[in-house]
Amino acid sequence: MPRMKPAADDALDQELMAAVARQDGRAFARLVERHLGWSLRFVERLVGERADAEDLVQTAFLRVWQGASRWEPQAKFSTWFYRVLHNLCMDHFRARGAPTEALDEALPDGGPTSEEQVAGAQRGARVRAALAALPERQRAAIVLCYYEERSQAEAAALLGVNEGALESLLARGRAALKKYMREELH
């Protein structure tokens, strides 16, 4: 499976942010190009819906444009942007209530044609439904540590917990997923 980590080269991000602070549209487009892929995957796995994820990522990039002049490179751009995205997702959950969806609704739109594609889409939909059923913080911990492969220190800082609490969130989340998988078999 493809790696989900953000593009490296923090120095380039800092240069681009300095240019964005001067309202340089080209630098902004470059920043979007570098970070859109991972940020969309991250948000889609957190909120579960592609359309919602696209809206949230668009809002996040708009905040980058509006707030670049106040940005101070104390942390990597990607770390700061993770926080922006994560906070937007939490606001989204608060506004909409806990996400719940039936498995049938979790199947993607548009028709894969072959049996293998259909089976793959169904497997993906089950994972999406299982993750959506987890408490938000457990889901966020799994998305950050498993899919995004962030370090424990970074994921813990993003979630505002210590590394021991992060480990507990991960263990409880994965235990719930195992239970979901067992129930699926019966």
Binding site: M1, F28, R45, V57, R128, C145, Y146, M181
Partner: protein, 125 residues
């Protein structure tokens, strides 16, 4: 005790060493190849494979363009159109005004205010 910790790490971080905290890599290396350790990792790997089944598709190019478009500076087309429309309406207004004055042969008060009585006389109204 160490095997208990190994199991706790597998339950939290999964079966792959690179996802474990760096400080636990030695523990991973110590137990991964033992029968007990391998059984624990196999169990954790089932959850890993389950998670891997959700592949998120790449963003559409249209999304990147839409985001960039939001901040792209707009051409001063609005001002240009406004200036053109204003000039055109002024010219048309003057033309209609002159035509009406010529038709009834007299200069009304508005025309005199606009052009002045001298101007009106000079052009033979």
């Amino acid at each position: 005790m160490d095997l208990t910790r190994f199991e706790a790490c597998a339950e939290a971080y999964g079966a792959e060493r690179r996802r474990w905290p760096a400080r636990e890599h030695a523990l991973y290396d110590r137990f991964a190849a033992t029968p007990e350790g391998a059984a624990i990792l196999a169990e954790a790997e089932r959850t890993d494979r389950f998670l891997d089944a959700w592949e998120v598709r790449e963003p559409d190019e249209a999304l990147a363009e839409a985001i960039a478009r939001v901040v792209r500076p707009r051409r001063p087309r609005t001002l240009w159109w406004q200036a053109t429309a204003f000039a055109a309406s002024a010219i048309i207004g003057f033309a209609i005004g002159f035509a009406q004055v010529r038709d009834d042969g007299s200069a009304d008060l508005v025309t005199q205010l606009l052009l002045g009585p001298t101007s009106v006389r000079e052009i033979g109204l």
